[in-house]
C-alpha cells in the first residue's frame, strides 16, 4: 500500500510538472506547423508568468492576471512574427532575442515595481487559481485503488490543468478537422502552394503565432499563479526548451505531445522523488542523469535511432513572394 501511495504521489506530481510543458509544447506545435521555428517559447512563458503574477497582485484577480499573461505573451509572439514573417529575419535569432529581452525585462521591471529582488509579491489565495475538488472526491478517498486515483489524480487540480489537457484534443481538432488547420499545415509544408491558392501566407502565420502566444501565456500563468504563488526570476528554468524537445519527440503531433510531456514530467517527478535513494538492480542513479535524460532522449531521437523526426518542410524558411 505504501508503494501504491508513492506511485500515486509521483503520478500526481507528474501531472503538475507536465502541464507547463504541455501548454508550451502545444504552443510550439502551432507555430512550427505553420513553418515558424520558435526558440522563444521560454521567453514568452517567462513574460506570461511575470505579467500574470504582477497584474494578479495589483488587481487582486486571478482572471485579470491570466488575461494579462496571455496579452503580453501574444505581444511577444507578434514581435517574433514581425521579425520573422514581415521582415523575413532569421527565426532562430529572433527567438533568441526574445528570450534575452524576456529574461532581462521581467527581472528589471519586477525589481523597479515591487522592490523584492525581482520577485512579485506573494499572491493571496483568491489571486491564484485554486484546486477544483470534483464532486465526491472526499467521499471516495477511502475506497482502495480507485479512491486515491479519483481524488488525487483526477480531482483537485487547478482549472488551468484541465485547460491544458483539454487543449490536446482541441488542438488535434483544429489541426486535422478545420479549414484553418489544414491551411496552417499546408503553409508549414509548402507556402508557395497556399499563396497560389490566394490565401495570405503572412496572415496565416501570424494567426498561428497568436495561438502560440495564447498558450505560452497560459503556461506562464500556470507557473506563477498555480505552481508557485508569485513570480520568481528565471522561473521557467529551461522548460521552454524541454517543451521544444518534447515537440520533436512527439513528431509535431498533439496527442504524442501530451505523452511526451507526461514522460518528461514523469522523469522530473521521479528525479525529485528518488533523490539519493538507490534503485534495485541499477543502484544509485545520479540526479543529474535524470535531469539530463529528456535532452539525451531527444538527441537520440533526433539522431534517428528511435524512429525519425521529420519537421515541417518549410520550417525556418522565410517566405518570399513572387520569385
Amino acid at each position: 500500500m505504501d508503494l501504491f501511495n508513492a506511485i500515486i504521489q509521483v503520478l500526481d506530481s507528474t501531472i503538475r510538472l507536465s502541464v507547463p510543458l504541455l501548454l508550451a509544447c502545444l504552443a510550439g506545435l502551432y507555430s512550427e506547423r505553420a513553418g515558424i521555428f520558435d526558440i522563444g517559447l521560454e521567453g514568452k512563458m517567462l513574460v506570461g508568468a511575470f505579467a500574470g503574477a504582477a497584474s494578479a497582485s495589483v488587481f487582486h484577480s486571478a482572471y485579470i492576471g491570466l488575461g494579462m499573461a496571455i496579452l503580453i505573451s501574444v505581444a511577444f509572439a507578434l514581435i517574433h512574427g514581425f521579425a520573422s514573417i514581415t521582415h523575413r529575419g532569421n527565426q532562430i535569432v529572433s527567438g533568441v532575442a526574445i528570450n534575452f529581452i524576456a529574461a532581462g525585462s521581467t527581472i528589471m521591471l519586477g525589481q523597479a515595481w515591487f522592490q523584492q529582488g525581482g520577485r512579485t509579491p506573494a499572491l493571496a489565495s483568491d489571486e491564484r487559481f485554486g484546486a477544483i475538488i470534483w464532486p465526491g472526491a472526499d467521499a471516495v478517498r477511502s475506497v482502495p485503488i480507485l479512491g486515491p486515483i479519483y481524488s488525487e489524480l483526477i480531482s483537485g487540480h487547478s482549472v488551468l490543468v484541465y485547460v491544458a489537457f483539454l487543449a490536446v484534443p482541441f488542438t488535434w481538432w483544429v489541426l486535422f478537422r478545420t479549414r484553418f488547420g489544414l491551411r496552417m499545415r499546408a503553409v508549414g509544408e509548402n507556402p508557395a502552394a497556399v499563396d497560389t491558392a490566394g490565401i495570405s501566407v503572412a496572415w496565416l502565420r501570424y494567426r498561428a503565432l497568436i495561438c502560440t502566444g495564447v498558450l505560452t501565456g497560459i503556461a506562464g500563468a500556470y507557473l506563477s499563479m498555480v505552481q508557485n504563488g508569485g513570480f520568481v526570476k528565471d522561473m521557467t528554468a529551461g522548460k521552454g526548451y524541454i517543451a521544444l524537445a518534447a515537440l520533436i519527440f512527439a513528431k509535431w503531433k498533439p496527442v504524442n505531445a501530451m505523452f511526451a510531456c507526461l514522460l518528461f514530467g514523469f522523469l522530473d517527478a521521479l528525479s525529485i522523488r528518488l533523490q539519493g535513494t538507490p534503485l534495485p538492480l541499477i543502484g544509485k542513479v545520479p540526479v543529474q542523469l535524470m535531469q539530463a535524460l529528456p535532452y539525451i532522449l531527444t538527441v537520440i531521437l533526433l539522431a534517428g535511432f528511435i524512429g525519425k523526426a521529420i519537421p515541417p518542410r518549410a520550417g525556418g524558411v522565410p517566405y518570399v513572394k513572387e520569385r
Binding site: F37, I39, I79, F82, A83, S84, H87, R88, G89, N90, Q91, I92, V93, S94, V96, A97, I98, N99, F100, I101, A102, A103, G104, S105, I107, M108, L109, Q111, A112, W113, G118, G238, Y241, L244, A245, I248, P286, Q288, L289, Q291, A292, Y295, I296, T298, V299, L302, A303, G304, A309, P311, V320, R323
Partner: protein, 379 residues
Amino acid sequence: MSTPYAKLPAWADYGLIPVINLAVAFLVAGFVVLLVGENPFRAAVVLVEGAFGRGQGIAFTLFYATTFIFSGLSVAVAAHCGLFNIGGEGQGYIAGLGIGIVCLAFDSVLPWWLTFPLAIVAAAAMGALWALIPAYLQARRGSHIVITTIMFNFIAASVMVYALVGFLKPPISMAPQTRTFLEGAQLPKLNWVIELFGAKIRSAPFNVSFLLALAMAFLVWVLIWRTRLGYEMRTYGHSSKAARYAGISETRIIIVAMMISGALAGMMALNPTMGDQHNVALEFVSGAGFVGIAVALMGRLHPVGIVLAAILFGMLYQGGAELAFEMPAISRDMIVIIQGLVILFAGALEHMFRPYVQALFASLSPRSVGIEAIKGKGA
C-alpha cells in the same frame, strides 16, 4: 539563398546599417530606462564613464571583452559555414572540465607559461568534442544543429554539476567548485599595459588571455579568407548544393567547422577560470556563450567587427555594473535586455531599415545602389 535586396556601397553595408540598428536598439533600451523612472541620458553617461572613465573600468571592460571575443568568433566560424552554433555556452562550460583537470594536476609543478598551453589544448579539445556530436548528427543523420546544440547545453550543465560535486571539488568542501588554483595556473595580469598610459588600477582581472583572443581573431581571419578550408566553409555556407557540386565533402566540412567553433567556445572558459576566479565553479560561463551570438551578429561575422563588438559588450557589462550601483532602479539585468535588443535589431531585423537607406542612397546617387541592375526585377 540570395537576399532579395539590392546592393549598397560597402561602407554603408558594414558601417552605416549596423550603426543604425545599434542606435535603434539603444533607443528602445532608453525607453525601458524611462519606464522604470530613470533618466536614460544620465544612465548612458554613467554607463560610458563606468566603462572608460578610469583605468579600473577600462581593465574590466577588456576583461569581459576577452571572453566575448572567443564566443563571438565561435558563432562566426560556424555561421560562415551556414551553421548556427547556439551551443557555445555548453561547449565553454564543458571546457571547464578540461581546464579544471589540467590545472589541478599541474599547478603545483609547472609555471603558468607551461600550464597555460596545456589548458588551452584541454579547453579547445573539450569544446571541440562537445561540438562534435551535434556536428556529426547534423552531417550524417540530418538532425537540426540548433536543437541538438541547445540540448547539449543542458547536458553539459548536468555533466558539470556531476563532475564538480563528484570529483573536482575537494572532499572536505561543501561548495561545488574546485580548490583555488596555485600560482602555476594563474594567468598574469595585463593591467600594467593600461597603467603605462598613466591610469591607476587597484585590481582588475584583465589578463594574458586577451592576447590569445586577439591571436585567435587573426587566425580566424586567416582561416576564413586566406585558406582553402575557409573558402570551402564559405562556399558551403552560401550554397550547400554548389559545395556538393564542387566536390566538397559535406560531412567533413560540417564537422571541421563545428569543431573549430567548439574549440573557440571552449577557449572562452580560460579567461574567467584561470584569469579571474582561479577555480572552476558552477555556472562560471554565466551566459557568455549566448553573448557571442549578439557579438557575432553585431560584428557582421568579421573578426575585426567581432573584436569591436566584444569591446562594446564588455563596456556594457562593466558600465552596467556601475549603472546598477548608481541607479537603484536599474539592475544588471539591463544588460540582458540591451543584449536581446541588439540581437533583435542587428540580427533578426537587420533588413528593417535597409529599404529606407537604399531609397536615400538611390535619391542621392542612383549609381551607388546599382539601380540599373535591379530595374529588370521590377523593384
